[in-house]
Amino acid sequence: MGKKSRFRLGNFGDVPQGERREQLREFLINNALYIFLVIVIIAIAIYRPRFVSPGSIVNIISLSAANLPIALGIAGAIILTGTDLSAGRAVGACACVAASLLQAAGYANKMFPFLPTLPVFVVILIVIAIGALIGAVNGFCTAKFNLHPFIVTLATQLIIYGGLLMYLTLGTNNGQSISGLDASYTNFINGSFLKIGSSAIPNFVWYSLGITVIMWFVWNKTAFGKNMFAVGSNSAAAHVSGVNVTRTIILVFTLAGALYGVTGFIEGARIGSNSAATGLNYELDAIAACVIGGVSFVGGIGKIRGVIMGVVLLRIIFVGLTFLSVNQNLQYIIKGLIILIACAIDMRKYLVRK
């Protein structure tokens, strides 16, 4: 906070002891959550050795990969000093649409009996388009009407839910959950060509990794990515610098929506039976992962590796808590506390910078 540090890497003798203590304190406070979570993970691994078995590790990797695209989408919204409460419902809607279009041909309760099983890639494009449309609506309302994304996405969340409930009554479905998926869809998502021990790594892990690489490129190597960070840091300064703030906001939310579509497509096959409850509260886990990973709510700050770390850490903790047989209700309290601490650390870093 205004103090000039005399610390030089590798030359500790020059740093006064008081300042060294202050730097250590700063390091411990800023990384308190990571240090704590790592200690908990180690403790669980010692107490329950099965936690680090190949099957458990593959399970953690799979669950993390399933949540990574939605977290990457929401991270963009957070970088713009916003949020996206419609993410979970968007994922659920896309999952239900994908499942309804990719049910097995001979399935007795097929939602649209007259419809042949569509090619997988056609349905991917359809759900990405649906997700992108939802995101575009969010972005348009936020940018053009100057509404806070919290309010806009709260509204679209309800609209999507209502629309999904109506969609599920179409055809022969009558509001039931959609299952009986075609083998081409389930194999595309859940099939595997690589194993750790006897545990197969599902294909969607690789798709998630591919999407992560693409997003890293978009965030770091494109003008759009730089504009996103500029608008998030200071939209007025970005505007004066020639950035089209409205277009950037709309595109960020549209991209986020496309990622929700991908997540929905993956979840549709991963879960196997999709209903209006699919995707419920997914955005909370994704927001928590982003905050833990250092994506700042004050805007303009965030890294892809941070999002990955946040998603993986959060998933490890909750799989670990399951191994400890922690009450499901208590897990909500723990999740809330983790989010609170991550936000406090984020705000503290912002104030110290100020």
Partner: protein, 34 residues
């Protein structure tokens, strides 16, 4: 300027307290599960 510095310093101390209290609460809850 000095008042702003003082306000920020107090806010940082409050956040330090929130962080430490939160970590302690989390540690207590999780430790009880072992």
């Amino acid at each position: 300027m000095r008042n702003i510095y003082k306000d920020v310093k107090i806010s940082v101390k409050v956040l330090d307290f929130v962080i430490i209290a939160g970590i302690t609460a989390l540690a207590a809850i999780i430790a009880m599960q072992f």
